[in-house]
Every structure is written in C-alpha cells, then in structure tokens.
Amino acid sequence: MNYFPDEVLEHVFDFLTSHRDRNAVSLVCSLWYRVERFSRQRVFIGNCYAISPEKLIKRFPGLKSLTLKGKHHFADFNLVPYDWGGYVQPWIEALAKSRIGLEELRLKRMVVSDESLELLSRSFANFKALVLVSCEGFTTDGLAAIAANCRFLRELDLQENEIDDHSGHWLSCFPDSCTSLTSLNFACLKGEINSASLERLVARSPNLRSLRLNRSVPLETLQKILVQAPLLVDLGTGSYVHDPDSETYNKLKTTILTCKSIRNLSGFLEVDPRCLPAIFPICLNLTYLNLSYAAGIHGSELIKLIRRCAKLQRLWILDCIGDKGLEVVASTCNELQELRVFPSDPLGIGHDAVTEYGLVAISIGCPKLHSLLYFCQQMTNAALITVARNCPNFIRFRLCILDPTKPDAVTMQPLDDGFGAIVQSCKFLRRLSLTGLLTDQVFRYIGMYAEQLEMLSVAFAGNSDKGMLYVLNGCKKLRKLEIMDCPFGNGALLSDAGKYETMRSLWMSSCEITLSGCKTLAKMMPRLNVEIINEHDQMEICPEDDGQRVGKLYLYRTLVGPRKDAPEFVWNL
C-alpha cells in the first residue's frame, strides 16, 4: 500500500459514503488514517459529549457537514429534565473560530439558542443546510437570522421542534436575492406566517423540491404555491380546510393535476375530509404518506384515500385506521417497506384501536416490510410468530402495547415466545423495542438470536438480573441499551463493565441499581461518563447513602471526561 499516492487513496475513499466505512478505513494504518481525515467532509457524532469540538476540528480540517445528537432518546418522553444539557453553542463557537467552512449542520435533541443561530448564520459564508430535529431553545428570531444572513441557503428543515413563535416575519427575512432554496420545512411552527411572503419566496425558488407548511397556511395559499412550484417532490399541507364548493377548491383540484412529481405527502394538521378528493389524482405516485398528524381524517375516508396509494413505501398513520383499515393497506400497498401506526388519542379516550389482527394482515400483504413502529391495544404470541414468518426482513421492529405489561391477549401468557420468534427469524434486526408481559426468557432469546441488534428499548420487562445479562453477553453489536422500570440491579450493571465502552450509551431508569453500583462502575471505567440524574424534588438524596436506588442512570463512553456544563442535579460519578 505504500506505493499508492495519497491522491489515489483519497479517490478510492471518496466512494465510501457511510461514516462507518470511513471510520473503519481510518483504523487500518496511520497512512490511511491521515488520508482519510483530510478528505473527510461529513462527520456524524452520535453523542455530542463523546468528543469535544476542538478535537473534531483538529482531526477533520476539511469538515463541511456535521451531524450532532444531544440528549438521550428518552428525552422525547420527558424523562430528561429540560436543562440537562446538549447545547450546540460551544460547537458553533469553536467552528466559527476555526477555518472550517461549514456548509451543513444537522442537530437532533439539542438545545439551540437564537444566539447560536445568529452566530451560525454569520460565521460560514457558504452555509447551505440546517436541519433541526426535536430541538428546543430558540425562537423565530433565530430563524430570521438564518434566513437573512445565509445567502446560499438551500435547506431549512425543522422537524418537531419546540420553537417559540414570535411572529411570522422571519419568512420575510429571506432576501430577494435568495433563490437557492431546495427544501423548506416549517411544519412545526405554531404561529402565523405571512402568506404573501411565502408565495413570493416560492416564486423565486425554482429549485424548490420540498415544502412543508405549518397549520396556519390556508388552502388558498397552498393553491397559489403549487402553481409556482409544479416540480415539488415533497409536500406538507398547511390547513387543508375549505368549502368544497368554492372556486378556490376547484382551482386547487386543477392545480394539483399538474403536480406530477409529488412523491411525499404529509401535513393535514387541520383537514376537512371533504377536500381530500383533490389529492386523489396524485395518490398513485406517492411513495411516502404521513397522515400521523391528521386526526381529522377518519376510518372510512382514510381508507378511501389509501386505496389509491398502491405504490406506497412508507406510511405513517394514526390508529384510527383500525384493523380493517390495515387490511386495506395490506391489500393495496404491496410495496410497503415502513409502517408507523401512532395512537390517535394519547391524552384522551378513544374507541379506535389496532390490535394484532391488523399487524398480521400487514405482514401477509406487505412482505417487503422492514421497519415497523406499532402502537396497539394488544398482541399475541401467535400473531408475532406469524409476522416473524411472513416478514423475515425486519431491520427495525418497535412494538408498543399501550398497556405496557399486558400479556398475550388470548392465552394470557407472556409475550416472550412471540418476540423470540421475531429475533430468530429476522436476522438483520438492528433495532428492537419490546412491550407486554415479558420475562427473562425474552432476553435469553434476544441474546441468543439477535446478532445484529444495535439498539434495544425495554420497559417493564424481565424478572431478574439475568435478563439484562443475557443481552449484554449475547448481543455483540449492541450500541444503545435503554431500560426503564425493569428489575435489573447492580449485578447486571457491573457484570461486564467493559462492554459499555463498545457501546454508545446505556440508560437505566427506575430499575434496581443503587448508587454504590454506579460508583463502582464509574471507578472501574474512567472512560465512561456515569451520570445520575436527580429530579428537582429529590433533594433528600444524599450523596453518601450508597444504598439508595438510582432514579436515572445515563452512562456513555467519551474521550473527553466529565462534561463541564452539567447542571446541579446531574452527578457525574
């Protein structure tokens, strides 16, 4: 290998796009490490506290695109207190000071401030893409800064962020000279925006391919926008409510006929089902349909719509579709690869539901299914076994029975065998979430069969430490393990401390581990950050009482030691 010029190596490495491949390549020898690091443009950091911005910048001076993840996954479910951490500010500051020509920044579960956005917008002349997923801490003022200062902005993608909406003026901050937009998603904004500004923006963005509106954008505006952007590939509607007898609606019907490129459709946060026929003509082209926020579309209308979407590959839906509706999906959408069924009424009372019948129907009709997120009322082993047999290609299998310790609905047995069948049959399974009545047995199956498993989410399962041990010992590729409310204690936690350095992180909340166990672990493994999160009210917790149970443990491997920005209630042992 010494006689290859560096340029050749670099050229070869150009073909490696996945960061895992590039990471692997960099470990081969110091030459390859050097070539790789100078040629690397995209870096993915799964835990922003695993490394420091300075080290990142030093290693990859050619960095153009950075992806960062902050808080743990369970922050989505309010298990991580607000000010736990995950601030992007230090990263942006460090990058701004350096000579990095950042062009893309993708953040997930991080705290982003207006100040950060402002700094970002001013520091990188060639900045092109900002993607924020489940972030918080900023307002529309920050967005205004991005709009105003990033002259070559192509992508502004806001997904499910908590944004303080001060006003709709941010949209008007895009200068008239900005014509480079390809993707704009502000569906999560709650406030009003200026329709005229939006229309003008779309009119001067000939490359716009993805546009997702928020619920304040009326149907009239949608129609006008579609006239300007017939090449849209990805559309998220705003308020899809209008009088179906009106001229506006008729205009929309005509306009939509010209939008032959739309492949992804989402939105419908507000919807009058009588207006749905307007989109029927494009349904046959759809490959991605997200109606998971469309609570206003019910069973029969939903089914009418889905019957026309024969080419769907990804479907996100609410459980008001019912088992019958899923049967329709199964018979219509034979190309389906990803299905997500969300509960339509997480806070209230609902009569609608899906059960194991719907899932079995899907497995029969959609053999290409590889990703599943399924919130349901009940499940049975028999159904899971059938699904496992019909769909051996699962990569992601996440089942959530809303009653988390519910047994097999027919036999009242634990669901161990059902999940066991899944892991045994699906040899490429990378992500698994379990619910239902589950004993240590299910973990034994997982340890035995889930060889490719990388992420496991468990709640209210298992009987003893053995459960966790099976997983730690068996799943060689495990990277993320998150556990809540399981009877796993210090024995399990400490059995294979070295394992945690091969993983990104471990989360255990409301389990049986005690402070002494965590302290022991922290001492054994200096390259792990072992954090205990104490809720604000638990001031009675005394750092000396090692016997007390730990409420929340979050540990992760890191190269930079305990973080300096941890709040008071987070103890780094």
């Binding site: 369970f74 989505d76 479910f77 309010n78 489940s134 962020n161 908590e162 999560c188 946060l269 926020y293 609570a295 206003g296 969300f342 509960p343 339509s344 009424d345 997480p346 806070l347 209230g348 009372i349 609902g350 009569h351 539901a353 919130f375 009322q377 009940q378 049975t380 082993n381 028999a382 076994i385 496992a388 959530c400 009653d403 988390p404 310790t405 047994p407 036999t411 161990d416 065998d417 069948a421 045994q424 049959s425 979430s433 009545l437 004993t439 240590d440 047995q441 199956y445 709640a459 209210f460 009987n463 809540m484 409310d485 009877p487 909340s509 409301s510 049986e512 604000h536 009210d537 149970r549």
Partner: protein
C-alpha cells in the same frame, strides 16, 4: 432448526411444544412467575419492591405534574365503591361546580387546580344518595377519575402486574406504581361511559374493554415516559380536535333556573342522549322545585321520578332554529337538528301548549 418457528405453526398456543435444543421453552411455565392477571401480591418480591420503591421516586417526580392534572372529587372514594357521587347535586347553585360537564379538550386542567385529594371526605353524602341510582350517564362518578389516596388504594404493585379490567369507572390510586397522577378525561357524554383515557401513563387503555364492558374499574396509573410518544406529537394531537373540526356549543336555558348551561351537540348522536344529559344537568333545579311543591324528600327521589318530572307533565324540550322560530325537539333527523339548532330551552309544559298541541304527549313518547 428453529424450534420456535416450527412448532408455532401448529397452533395458537404460545406454549410451544418443547424441543431439545431450546429447553427453556418447555420450562416456560416454570420459568414464569406466578403472577395472576391482576398482578397482585403473587408477584415476585423483586418485582414488587422494585415497583414500590420506584413508585416513591416517581411520586416525587409526578407531584409537579400532579398539580396540573389531577382531578379529585370532593367526596373522593376509594376504588370499587359504588359510584355514588354526582356532580351537580351540591345545591350550591351560585358556585361553579368542581366538575362541570362541559367537555373541554385540554382546558380541563385549569379547572382542576382546585383538586380535592381528600381521601374519603364525604362532604356531600346526603345529596349524593339522591343520585345513587343514576347510571350510565355523564355524571356517574364512576366515569370520573377518582383520586384515591394511598390509604384507600388497594395493595397492588405494578411492575409485572396488570391492572384490573375496567368498566365505566376510572380510578386513579395515587400511589400506584409510579405515583399515579390522573390525566383528564375528555368529558363528553357518550365517551365517558366507556373508555378510560389513554394517558401519559400506564394507561390500561381499555379500548378493547369497550367491547368487553366488564365491570371492574380501570386503574389509571401515570408513569412519566409512558406511552413512548414524542411530547411534540402528544401535544399536537391534544390540540387537534379529533372527531369533528368544530364543536357545537349551544345554550340551554330552563324556565325557573337561575343560570343557563351550554352543551356541545356534537357529543351526542341521538335525541335520547341529549335528553338524558339535559335531565342530569338540570335535575338539581327540578329537585328544588319538587321539594317546594311538597314532593317527598330528596332521599326518596329516584331517577324515574325525575324523568317523570321532565317528561311527563312538567317540561318540554324546545329549540330555536336558524330562522328564529321555536320548535319542538324531536321532529327532524338528528343531523338536521344539530345543523339548525341555535339554542335549547326547557320549557314548562304549561308554556309549551301554545307551541304544539299535545306537545306533552309527543314528548313523552319521543324524548
């Protein structure tokens, strides 16, 4: 090769027949704890203790949330007692009832700031008895989240356990596995009689129970972090009205009542439901009148007598339509009715004579 898959085909049993390679299966039964379905004390001590300790931790966690969500009745009862509480029987007409019946999607939380988590205080025992036979209606206490304190809570552990099935009764033991904190039900006439809400908690989401309609109360325990749905999505769906885009609130007045009420017509689907709900809503006024007319004391007033009062000779339900005319309720199909109804009025039978001859006979048949 794979015993699980091979044997599973045979039947519906989850206890697959044993195979030599996976002996764990044959020991399936013995490997399992003998938790009974109710998840009571049969559970292993590990589970139980895990649960109870985590419940203490969670209690602290949840107290913050509890204050914004908890709903407690003035005469809170432990689960399992007969639903005897009624909401409007306080007789304090000038005081806003703690449990107004107006369905409000999310705003109920604000009303419940003055929750009464008072265990078994029976402040209204006398008047409560009056309505002891009220059943299947909006006002049945069983349909309310009864916040039981730790004293009254049955000894149950969550962990591996399950909760009893439900009927209309939703009970929230306060120190359930994770310091249960009740979420607010969407109060609407037809919904309440069945399902407990699927809340951010261990929601024994007995949507299937609506098919079963068993009679045991549903236990609602709230666990932070359950169900695992992104809070953004949860909040978003909470603010999006589900069944119809517009709620149709109309005023309901009754002759002689000191104040009017409002009902959301969209929560009912038949005249019968509306009538029943209105009866309940205005029954307290009727009782007062009944008393003053020398009817037997409150304690002996039964549901049927109430009905008689409202149906038979005393009251007639009328509405004002889009044209401003006062019409008798019940003539047109329900859907047409709710589209044209602007407000409702419960008229005294004597006043209604002019409205339609034989109005009283009509109403006693229809309503």
């Amino acid at each position: 090769m794979s015993p699980l898959l091979l044997t599973a085909d045979e039947g519906e049993q989850s206890n697959v027949s044993s195979s030599p390679t996976v002996d764990c299966i044959s020991q399936n039964g013995s490997g399992l704890k003998e938790c009974n379905y109710m998840g009571l004390s049969d559970c292993s001590s590990v589970d139980c203790s895990a649960v109870s300790s985590s419940s203490e931790e969670k209690k602290n966690n949840l107290n913050l949330k509890a204050t914004e969500l908890r709903l407690g009745l003035p005469g809170s009862q432990s689960p399992g007692r007969t639903p005897e509480l009624c909401l409007l029987n306080t007789g304090k007409h000038d005081e806003k009832p703690l449990f107004p019946l107006i369905p409000s999607k999310e705003g109920i939380c604000s009303l419940l700031q003055k929750h009464v988590v008072s265990g078994n205080k029976r402040g209204f025992s006398d008047t409560i008895d009056v309505f002891s036979e009220v059943k299947g209606s909006v006002y049945t206490a069983g349909n309310w989240m009864i916040h039981a304190t730790s004293d009254s809570q049955p000894p149950q552990s969550v962990g591996q356990g399950k909760f009893p099935g439900n009927s209309g009764m939703n009970v929230v033991p306060s120190s359930m596995s994770s310091g249960a904190c009740s979420r607010i039900l969407e109060f609407s006439g037809k919904i309440l009689q069945e399902d407990p809400c699927s809340t951010n908690g261990i929601s024994h989401n007995h949507k299937t129970a609506s098919k079963n309609n068993s009679s045991a109360p549903a236990l609602k325990a709230q666990v932070v972090g359950w169900p695992p749905i992104r809070s953004f999505r949860k909040n978003s769906l909470a603010t999006t009205p589900k069944n119809s885009p517009i709620a149709l609130f109309v005023k309901v007045s009754m002759d002689g009542a000191p104040y009017q009420r409002k009902v959301d017509l969209r929560t009912y689907s038949t005249y019968q439901e509306l009538s029943t709900a209105l009866e309940k809503m205005f029954s307290c006024f009727t009782i007062g009148q009944c008393g003053s007319q020398g009817a037997p004391g409150r304690e002996m007033l039964s549901e049927s007598k109430l009905r008689d009062l409202l149906h038979g000779s005393e009251y007639v339900l009328t509405y004002e339509d889009k044209d401003g005319d006062w019409m008798l309720v019940g003539d047109v199909p329900w859907v047409m009715f709710i589209e044209s109804c602007k407000r409702l009025k419960i008229m005294r039978g004597s006043d209604a004579i002019g409205l339609a001859p034989r109005a009283m006979e009509k109403t006693s048949k229809r309503i």
